[in-house]
């Protein structure tokens, strides 16, 4: 499994750069992951989205459905794509330290 320098430490990632152990996640790791997803700097709305995804994941063991994500954050999907160009699943969830989405989603 490849590793990558994120937040000042070596972190195990999969072939697509998703971190393998959620416990390794810190805000500094997130900021570096964001750079790999075309986000130069994490702004307030980036954090709002990422924190919601993380909280939901810790509670339910899964990423929130996109529709719920939009409703709860008040962000339109189009705006989420502006925040994270690779989208909620590949972009925002990766920055939030979730594993790569699996199954028919």
């Amino acid at each position: 499994m490849p590793t990558q320098e994120l937040g000042g430490k070596q972190v195990e990632v999969d072939e697509d750069g998703f971190i393998q152990t959620p416990e390794e996640w810190t805000e500094a790791v997130a900021a570096d992951l964001a750079k790999t997803e075309g986000v130069a700097e994490m702004g307030e709305d980036h954090w709002k989205l990422v924190n919601y995804i993380r909280d939901y994941y810790q509670k339910f063991g899964i990423a929130p459905m996109v529709r719920k994500l939009c409703k709860e954050t008040g962000f339109k999907l189009k705006y989420i794509y502006e925040l994270f160009p690779s989208g909620p699943a590949k972009g925002a969830c990766k920055v939030a330290g979730l594993p790569k989405p699996t199954g028919c989603v």
């Binding site: 490849p2 999969d14 072939e15 697509d16 339910f60 063991g61 899964i62 990423a63 459905m65 996109v66 529709r67 719920k68 409703k71 999907l77 189009k78 590949k90 790569k100 989405p101 699996t102 199954g103 028919c104 989603v105």
Partner: protein, 536 residues
């Protein structure tokens, strides 16, 4: 590198860094507004990945097979493969599919009639190694040379030689994931040879004997589904949260206060949806709930692990996993004492739980199972729900999921619905049992690793994208909203990627979605439009 048209099965065992380099300038041409579309280069693996991962077929990796650590390990894997091949060819170890496999292996006369029917072969610009007969021929030569008495002497003499080594196997394993198992080849074959089935059996051999399979289908797929309840990771607690949200959302969108029934014993139907409908396309799940509520259908969902996710990726690569999942689902249906299990809009789940599960169910688990389409046809066409077609007055076409239409023959119910509720419904050419795959079949739509999505969007989905553009040519501009009705979760996932890859929402305003969403959009009991013209 040899010119691509000169590749032969015998070259498959020759050492080479990469057999073929895909050339986008040869790919199938697209109609307006994509006549000048630039496909760019094929996405290649990084140098680091090339050092670790097998890519000697075409530079693409679906599986991500690690290179063997030593020559001894490589040799052992070759021996394992031959052991698995022997099993594949014996009744005791392959009672599920031995007969159709042998009929196809022994009777193909290589007339190549199937070539032009294959969307992957033709979209790639007739890439030799993607010929539908190519993998079968590699396997046949291995069997003839390495398993039959005197085979090694005869191989060179007959002119059908092949070298079996680790490279041969790594390429063959990857090649079994360059076919979407759409089975158009089998359909046009004059004697019914099924190269799709051969491909699936090659995947099975690799999975069951060598543990070589695609993580999205196996570790994060069937294994996770059996452990957690769904390959998406959706456990029963998450399911209940999602259902609660879906109910509130229905109320907000339509004013209808609907309770989604859970674990209702003795209901007429246990409805099984693909988990994607809960997580990515909840409008589909909601539309089913609205239609059944208004029509007074007795139904329920299950909240038991595996019972709420209809998927069964075992269909694509492994009989053990296929059987384990199908048996769990059947037991849940038995436990709920429902009259029948109704499959929602998911193609492979239709096939896995109906005709294929027939091969593995013992008599006591042989629960009645049916497709949602005839029931929906009855509700719409016999006016158990009232519709106003003028609400769907935009161009609509129907994508036929291969498993539902070609493989199972469910062709007309969905069309009779669309003819009734969509004034601008039009058919693609060809359609029905002759349809083209969306390009995401056999698990491809969920395989998101490495450079595989690039290959899928550029090659396996290309023929379907061309069909969609062709059918909407009269109104191709972004000023007209258009709808591709794709009543299959896997196909929807592929359309999301494919239309996104070609930026077809921005350029042409082409949206995709299911069938029930169109029905609810036209229902007179639902006051507001149900379809949100928002690409997601």
């Amino acid at each position: 590198m040899k010119p691509r048209q000169e590749w032969k099965a015998s070259d498959f065992g020759m050492p080479s860094e990469q057999m073929t380099e895909l050339d986008p300038s040869r790919f199938l041409k697209l109609p307006p507004p994509y006549e000048d579309w630039d496909d760019g280069e094929m996405q290649s693996l990084s140098e680091d990945q090339k050092g670790r991962i097998e890519h000697s077929l075409d530079g693409v990796t679906a599986i991500g097979i690690p290179k063997p650590a030593s020559p001894e390990e490589a040799e052992k894997r070759v021996a394992d493969f031959l052991e698995g091949l022997r099993k594949l060819l014996t009744k005791e170890d392959n009672w599920t599919f031995l007969q159709p496999l042998l009929l196809s292996m022994e009777n193909c006369v290589k007339c190549q009639t199937c070539n032009d029917a294959c969307p992957v072969y033709t979209s790639s610009g007739n890439e030799e190694i993607y010929r539908p007969t190519f993998r079968g021929e590699v396997l046949r030569r291995i069997i003839n040379k390495y398993l039959k008495p005197g085979g090694k002497v005869m191989a060179a003499f007959r002119g059908n030689d092949i070298e079996l080594n680790w490279g041969t196997l790594a390429r063959l394993a990857e090649l079994s994931y360059r076919c979407t198992l759409c089975r158009r080849c089998a359909q046009v074959c004059p004697i019914g040879v099924d190269n799709g089935l051969i491909t699936r059996e090659i995947r099975k051999l690799f999975s069951q004997q060598l543990g070589i399979n695609v993580d999205e289908l196996h570790g994060s797929g069937t294994v996770k589904q059996l452990q957690v309840g769904s390959s998406t990771g959706m456990n029963p607690t998450a399911l209940m949260d999602i259902i609660e949200f879906a109910e509130e959302d229905i109320l907000e969108r339509t004013g209808l206060n609907i309770k989604i029934p859970i674990d209702k014993e003795g209901a007429d139907y246990l409805v099984m949806h693909n988990a994607g409908e809960f997580l990515s396309w909840p409008e589909n799940l909601q539309a089913f709930a609205i239609i059944f509520e208004i029509a007074g259908v007795s139904w329920t969902l299950s909240s038991e692990q595996v019972g709420y996710d209809s998927v069964n990726y075992g269909l694509f690569y492994d009989d053990f996993m296929l059987a384990r999942i199908a048996l769990r689902q059947a037991r849940i249906a038995k436990g709920l004492k429902v009259k029948s299990v109704l499959q929602g809009e998911c193609g492979h789940a239709h096939k896995a739980f109906m005709p294929i599960a027939d091969r593995v169910f013992p008599a006591e688990l042989n629960v009645p199972r049916e497709s949602c389409f005839p029931l929906l046809e009855d509700l719409v066409c016999n006016e158990k729900i009232m519709v106003d077609p003028s609400r769907n007055d935009f161009p609509v076409t129907l994508h036929d999921p291969c498993n539902i239409t070609r493989s199972m023959g469910i062709v007309e119910p969905q069309r009779r619905i669309l003819r009734k509720i969509c004034p601008q419904f039009r058919e693609m050419t060809p359609h029905g049992v002759n349809n083209y795959c969306c390009g995401g079949g056999s698990g491809f739509a969920i395989m998101q690793g490495s450079n595989f999505p690039d290959w899928r969007n550029k090659i396996s989905g290309r023929r379907k994208f061309k069909q969609i553009l062709d059918v909407f040519q009269d109104s191709i501009g972004p000023e007209t909203r258009k709808y591709v009705c794709a009543p299959c979760s896997n196909c929807k996932g592929q359309f999301r990627d494919l239309l996104g890859h070609f930026d077809a929402w921005e350029r042409c305003r082409i949206l995709y979605g299911g069938l029930v969403e169109l029905i609810v959009n036209a229902m007179v009991d639902v006051k507001e439009p149900f379809i949100e013209w928002d690409f997601h």
